[in-house]
């Protein structure tokens, strides 16, 4: 490696230094490690702007909503009280990738952030399969501009109260706007315009699908037609369904549903790849800063600062059930490096495909691009890692006054712990599985949804009732949600009508008396909460 002198030894950064270091960092990334990256846009901001940034999902442009205002106040309060520092790195999945550097950072911190965000995160955004499939880095900022303007225009035309009420309802369901098994459509502006045109045509041409179920008596008896289910198969993309099928819905409301689900779709992979993201970014900042040191571009003083900062970032507090994604991700990738180059017998046993392959960088690149958190952990969490973090698993039964330790970091426990940790990153454990089961198109037009229980866990009653009220507001007719277990047995049913909320507990002792069922439900499940 070519040898240099440190570009600076002072903690003050300058634009010229940032430029020079970035050139070196990008060159190392591309030439030494062959990392394919989006172009970078590095923006220097002040601390208040940083607060602005991550109060609205860090997007530089976003439609206005009161939840972002509240988020700002919360973050501001915490920051002022000293509870949290501001994030060093806020980076946006777009092309060019936008990374924010705070003006208060030292030179070394800026170097770290550049390696972390402009190389690490950038790499995952561009190459990880989840992001390639679900996000369009080149179109997102333009789309947000359109969304912001559209919503602002609606506020002017229809009044901010009505728009806010509708937006609130849609945002409650923003994680249910993704078709997990279909390829998402494009965000580009041109296609947007074409779609608008098409939609207007279609509005005139055909009635909503629902009304095509009005029976044609020549075709058969109404009873038979009634049996035809709508939708034919359970629909998981709830917002999409509402957008296309809500009876008598205004066009602007349809567009708002669409905006909320498009943005939900954009953030969808982010939920499921936190460990992969932070692990990869940390790995690259660690590697590249070390390279800079070996090349002489930074001196011992900087390295001391770096090690302190890095150690802080990957610190995993003991006795905690909250796994620091930086700690976990970084350790796993470093572990992969070790397994590829100096495997132990245990490694050969657990990772026969990669142990000793002598290609650490290639393997790490493969690990960070072809997996999401759940599969990443399931595939790569080694006994070594489990021992390092001294992981153990406990069973938490809400009815018992204790936690039961069921596995620890010994030979018999590794497999179980790995599987349990991986499961914690499964989407269904974070976002309950709810699908649209049926619409009573022929009758009272009520919509029925099914919640499939995960691990036998019920939904939070208060929140669910509020969320279903919002759904009813969008749909316009009664909403019914049934919680079923994996075998299909009904446990609870929520019925939200215009003035009333009913909850039926199917597992109640006296199954035959429905009134009893409801009473029991109110008494127990509701926990005294009267809606």
């Amino acid at each position: 490696m070519k040898q240099y002198k440190p570009l600076t030894t002072s903690s003050e950064w300058t634009f010229e230094l940032i430029q020079e270091y970035t050139e070196h960092i990008e060159r190392i990334a591309k030439e030494k490690y062959d990392l394919d990256l989006y172009p970078n846009s590095i923006e220097i901001i002040g601390s208040e702007q940083m607060l602005d940034a991550y109060s609205s999902h860090a997007m530089p442009i976003m439609y206005n909503h009161w939840t972002f205002g509240k988020s700002f106040v919360s973050n501001h309060n915490s920051y002022k009280k000293g509870y949290t520092g501001l994030a060093y790195e806020v980076v946006i999945n777009s092309s060019p990738t936008i990374a924010y550097l705070m003006e208060e950072n030292t030179m070394l911190t800026q170097i770290l952030v550049i390696a972390h965000a402009c190389v690490g995160h950038n790499y995952v955004y561009k190459n990880n399969y989840m992001f390639k499939e679900w996000t369009d880095a080149e179109a997102i900022l333009d789309y947000l501009k359109f969304a912001k303007k559209y919503i602002a225009d609606c506020e002017e035309k229809y009044g901010y109260e009505e728009v806010e009420k509708f937006l609130d309802a849609c945002m409650t369901w923003q994680f249910y706007g993704v078709s997990k098994y279909k390829r998402p459509d494009d965000l580009s502006k041109k296609k947007q315009k074409e779609r608008d045109k098409k939609r207007r045509q279609m509005m005139h041409e055909d009635a909503h699908e629902i009304w095509s179920t009005v029976p044609d008596l020549n075709k058969g008896r109404p009873d038979e037609m009634k049996k035809e289910k709508f939708p034919k198969h359970p629909e998981e993309n709830i917002l999409y369904f509402l957008e296309k099928n809500t009876p008598k819905i205004d066009e602007w409301k349809q567009e708002i549903i669409r905006i909320v689900r498009k943005i939900g779709q954009y953030f969808y992979p982010q939920l499921q790849a936190k460990v992969v993201h932070e692990g990869t970014a940390t790995y690259w900042h660690y590697t590249i800063v070390n390279d800079l040191y070996e090349m002489g571009l930074i001196d011992d003083g900087f390295m001391v600062e770096f090690l302190a900062l890095h150690t802080n970032v990957v610190n995993q507090p003991r006795g905690s059930a909250m796994m620091n994604p930086y700690a976990l991700g970084f350790f796993i990738l470093k572990d992969i490096e070790r397994i590829c180059t100096e495997p132990t017998d245990e490694d050969y046993e657990w990772f026969p495909d990669i142990a000793g392959n002598g290609k650490p960088i290639e393997t790490i690149k493969w690990a960070s691009t072809n997996f999401k958190d759940e599969s990443f952990i399931q595939q790569f969490l080694s006994p070594n890692a489990i021992r390092h973090f001294k992981m153990f698993s406990v069973e938490d039964d809400s009815e018992k006054p204790y936690y039961l330790v069921n596995d620890i970091h010994d030979k018999n426990g590794y497999k179980a712990i790995r599987e349990r940790l991986a499961r914690q990153y499964n989407l269904s454990s974070m976002i309950p599985e709810i699908q649209i089961e049926n619409v009573d198109a022929w009758g009272d037009r009520s919509i029925t949804l099914t919640h499939t229980m995960y691990n036998g866990i019920y939904l939070d009653v208060k929140e669910t009732v509020e969320a279903l009220k919002h759904l009813r507001y969008i749909w316009g007719y009664d909403v019914i949600l049934t919680t079923k277990d994996e075998q299909g047995t009904k446990h609870i049913t929520y019925i939200i009508s215009e003035d009333d909320i009913d909850i039926i507990d199917h597992m109640a002792e006296d199954e035959d008396d429905e009134e009893d069922q409801i009473a029991l439900a109110f008494q127990g499940l509701y926990g005294g909460y009267i809606p």
Binding site: Q49, P317, S320, S398, K400, P401, H470, D505
Partner: protein, 432 residues
Amino acid sequence: MSFNIIDRRLNDKGKSIPNRQRLLRRIKDSLKDSIKEGIIDSDVKNFGSDKQVITIPKRGLSLPEIKHGKFGVKNIVVTGNEKYVRGDKIPKQGGQGNGGKKGSPDGQGDDEFKFELSRDELLDLFFEDMELPDFIKNTIKAEDNFENRRAGFITDGTPARLNIQRSLVVAKSRKTALIGPKRKRLKALKKELEELLVVIDSTKDEESLKSLLLRKDELETEIKKLKKKIAAIPFIDEYDLRYNHWVKHPVPTNQAVMFCMMDVSASMGEWEKEMAKRFYILLHLFLSTVYEKVDVVFIRHHSTAKEVDHDEFFYSTETGGTIVSSALDVMTDIVKERYNPNDWNIYACQASDGDNFVFDNPKVHEVMTQRILPICQYYAYIELDEHRTGQSDIWSMYENFAQNFKNISIRKIHHIKDIIPVFRKLFEKENS
């Protein structure tokens, strides 16, 4: 180079402002209630000077979250195991464990959300009820008066403030410092060269000539190098630039005193007191923007009058008959003692329900016309008449004053928004 570096620090810092406004709209009713309480609790003088911290319950401040409840069985992976083995039972905190699966313990108390309003936002909400016209709002919200004064030089600034002479002076001194030694050396070299040339001329010996010529070349190259170095030193550098420095200096203004007079007979209830308090606060706020120092004097009266402090003014429970002139007398006494009209701008506001002991009226007339109105900048009177009970003694008298004197304004208050018109003349006068 596939990257850009952009300095956004001077960009719009208020990206969250529209979001904050939306949040405020949403919780406006809670805010107004909180402010009302704040008015009742706070000092007339302090209202609006500190940032107000409001606490509101969190309920209704979040979108509902579709999530799992606490009930059920789940596995959790934890780190940092030092001592546990399989089968160990770790007690939960708070002793959970509810009989029957129906008990899902979701009873968190409503967390409260702390919220800080800026002075502007606070005043906006305060004024909204009162339907304050814009020009008054602007006056009250306006910043203190400042003037700019010169304060030497500073190394950074805008091109408009560049002080050329000063910069050149600094440049000259830098140049001198840098070039000085070089020039000295150059002079020495040139002298040596000159002497050498003379020696060369007079040397015939081949051997010594060679070495002399060698030396001559050396000298010439060194001189050339040195000249180049000297030329490379710029006559002015960014480091030399000096800019004029301006500092903001508060403008000292005159002082004002505000006399608050209130009738505390039994007919003044909670509503009346709240109206009166808003009335005093408004005048105080207004005066604070115009005068640097505003003193407040509280005089309460029923059949006798007394100067009191803030708390006694609003909360004490003496009652009695009503003799207005007692208050006016006390006011004139205080003015004589402490507030010379030549040094102080005198403002007065009086709140009452209109009654007066009938034989007192001529005295009131005399004191007002002879001694008070002539020295007051402005006299504001509000009659608190929630139930519209008709003409009162004081009213008719003051109505008369209003026609003859320019500096008095009277108003009956049936509703909170009636307060402003009392001040209209005052504000218009100050703003013209």
